[in-house]
């Protein structure tokens, strides 16, 4: 079956004020099938937020897509016209930005902000619009949709604002939702609520989800497949169970080891040093040739210095970009 979204060899670069070019994403390829949740695991500097905005061409003025294609429902999103793109944004693909306190307009009521999205994609009279808005909000606020609709963002808590954002992004029943760190600023139980809501929406409208985060434990709960980004390249991609419990790429292995886990704490690993990844992520402006993770890799080999590894299949539906699995000449 044809995938819903197919990203082919995406290249994105930024031009910082100081000059030069920063290759934020290089040769990123993946696909998302209908109704599936793809978790994108990446830390700061991995390019994950760039990926979120690049797919819908929402890069800031100094960024540009320098290559690749994004196939969605029969068209290349990177080449569609402005009008068509506006219809797809919010209509067929929803986008949830990172910080709920900043992503909502401070002077417009929550209900009106949701109505604004619906109104931009369907023409309805005011009564129908209000009805549809309340329906959308009721999916996420089963008890007090009306009160939320009439509130301003500063009157809502962090979790509530996140839900309003989710309502906006899913108001027109899109086929795909891109969520950039949706649970970052929330505490554990609110996080669970939001994850539960994603599940409900998935069941309700068959939503496919690209969930971007830096916390592996969250992806363990929600993702069907996981893609690991490092320094703008795909390190590894495969089924969630396989990537998260038997990772192939040295970066993924090291990353998963350094999260303090409750299990570890209970086993009296407390107050012991955690295994860390030495060093810092590379400066993308001054990349040397060779694998981008090589300077910090515990399993580096000579060939890793020479060229970038290609993606190799290393299991059922599981691909890695690492010379350990082949590809070195």
């Amino acid at each position: 079956m044809k995938p819903l979204l197919e990203v082919q060899s995406l290249h994105v670069a930024y031009r910082p004020a100081a000059g030069g070019e920063c290759p934020a994403l290089a040769d990123v390829s993946f696909e998302v099938r209908a109704g599936e949740t793809l978790g994108v695991l990446g830390e700061s500097g991995s390019g994950k937020s760039t990926l979120a905005v690049a797919l819908l061409r929402l890069l800031p003025a100094n960024g540009r897509v320098s290559g690749g294609a994004v196939q969605f429902e029969g068209q290349d999103l990177l080449k569609t016209g402005r009008r068509e793109l506006e219809k797809i944004r919010g209509g067929r693909i929803g986008l949830m930005f990172q910080d709920p306190s900043m992503a909502l307009h401070p002077a417009i009521r929550a209900g009106q902000q949701v109505s604004g999205v619906i109104g931009a994609h369907h023409s309805m009279d005011r009564a129908a619009l209000r009805k549809k808005t309340l329906e959308v909000l009721a999916r996420l606020f089963p008890k007090d949709a009306e009160r939320i609709a009439d509130s301003y963002p500063h009157q809502l808590s962090g979790g509530q604002r996140q839900r309003v954002l989710l309502a906006q992004a899913t108001a027109c029943d899109p086929a795909l939702l891109i969520a950039d760190e949706p649970t970052a600023s929330l505490d554990a139980s609110t996080q669970q609520e939001i994850l539960g809501l994603f599940g409900t929406l998935k069941a309700h409208i068959g939503l496919a989800l690209i969930f971007i985060t830096h916390k592996p434990e969250v992806l363990a709960q929600i993702a069907d497949r996981v893609l690991v980004l490092y320094a703008g390249r795909v390190a590894e991609v495969g089924p969630a169970a396989s990537v998260l419990s038997a990772p192939r790429h040295p970066y993924t292995k090291a990353l998963l080891q350094c999260a303090p886990s409750q299990a570890g704490a209970q086993l009296a690993f407390r107050k012991s040093k955690l295994p860390v990844i030495a060093g810092e992520p590379p400066n993308l402006m001054r990349l040397l040739h060779g694998c981008r993770f090589e300077p910090r890799c515990a399993e580096r080999m000579d060939v890793c210095n020479a060229s970038e590894p290609a993606q190799i299949v290393a299991g059922e539906g599981h691909a890695v970009s690492c010379f350990k699995y082949g590809g070195g000449s």
Partner: protein, 275 residues
């Protein structure tokens, strides 16, 4: 004699209450109790983690202990002195011994100063040493937290999030504090960076004999760093005990909920740990 001194808690909090006044639409005044009857003590060279959800009063507690907000009632004893009853003059002597590290280093470091200036600032305020000595001490602190000397003249925005947090820690250590309050200091960091900072904190605790008050909503981090865990809910302390016990066998319903929420995973991530 010295054994007895070791048993004395460094910090003891007794029945702290903090009420805020809040106006409402009708003009009537309501009171919000941010903290209500909180009591605990912390032994020297240990870590107490305070966990709870947003709005449970954790940050208010941090502010009260750091003497930045006076509690509405209750007492705080630091090294057997009641700091809630001190005059500002005397309090100034105590402040260097209790230092804070905040969640967002981007907001707590002056963006216009170089990192060296930021870390030497506390020395200036204490008026202890001349310029050269200040610089030397600041450089030594930066090295201690892993920031090399060549970078000391750069501004905060040229560093990554993890590095900025290290700089904030260096500044907090400038005045040789005994108690370090970490208010969600690890929450905004990436996974691998968080691990590095946790290791740094552990190393500093043993080499500098520090006591930590760690405020967090992340149970796993609390479990890893703390000797004791206290759980706050709606301004009240609902459970407190040795870290391992609280994690394995939580008694209070709220604690149980927190533990359950944190381990909601179907598949636990990570390579299987070798026991």
């Amino acid at each position: 004699m010295s054994a007895k001194a070791e048993n004395q808690p460094l910090l003891r909090v007794e029945n702290i209450e903090k009420r805020y006044v809040r106006g409402s639409l009708q003009g009537s005044q309501g009171e919000v109790a941010a903290l209500c009857g909180v009591s605990f003590s912390v032994s020297p060279r240990t870590t107490l983690a305070i966990v709870g959800e947003s709005g449970s009063g954790k940050s208010t507690l941090a502010l009260c202990i750091a003497c930045l907000e006076p509690p509405s009632s209750g007492k705080i004893w630091f090294e057997r002195r009641d700091i809630t009853s001190l005059e500002e003059r005397e309090l100034r002597m105590i402040r260097p011994q209790i230092q804070l590290v905040f969640q967002d280093p981007a907001n707590s470091l002056n963006p216009r100063w170089s990192v060296l200036e930021i870390v030497s600032e506390p020395f200036i305020l204490q008026r202890r040493c001349d310029r050269r000595e200040r610089q030397e001490r600041a450089l030594a602190l930066l090295e201690r937290v892993g920031i090399p000397g060549e970078k000391a003249h750069q501004r905060p925005d040229e560093f990554s999030g993890g590095q900025r947090q290290r700089i904030a820690i260096a500044r907090a250590l400038a005045l040789d504090p005994k108690l370090l309050i970490l208010d969600e200091a690890l929450s905004a960091l990436d996974c691998s960076v968080q691990a590095q900072i946790i290791n740094l904190l552990l190393e500093l605790q043993s080499s500098l004999a520090l006591t930590y008050l760690l405020i967090t909503h992340d149970v796993a981090v609390a479990g890893h760093l703390a000797d004791q865990i206290a759980v706050l809910n709606g301004g009240r302390l609902v459970e407190i005990g040795e870290a391992g016990t609280v994690l394995r066998a939580p008694k209070h319903a709220v604690t149980q909920q927190l533990m359950a929420a944190a381990t909601g995973s179907k598949t636990s991530p990570g390579v299987a740990l070798e026991v």
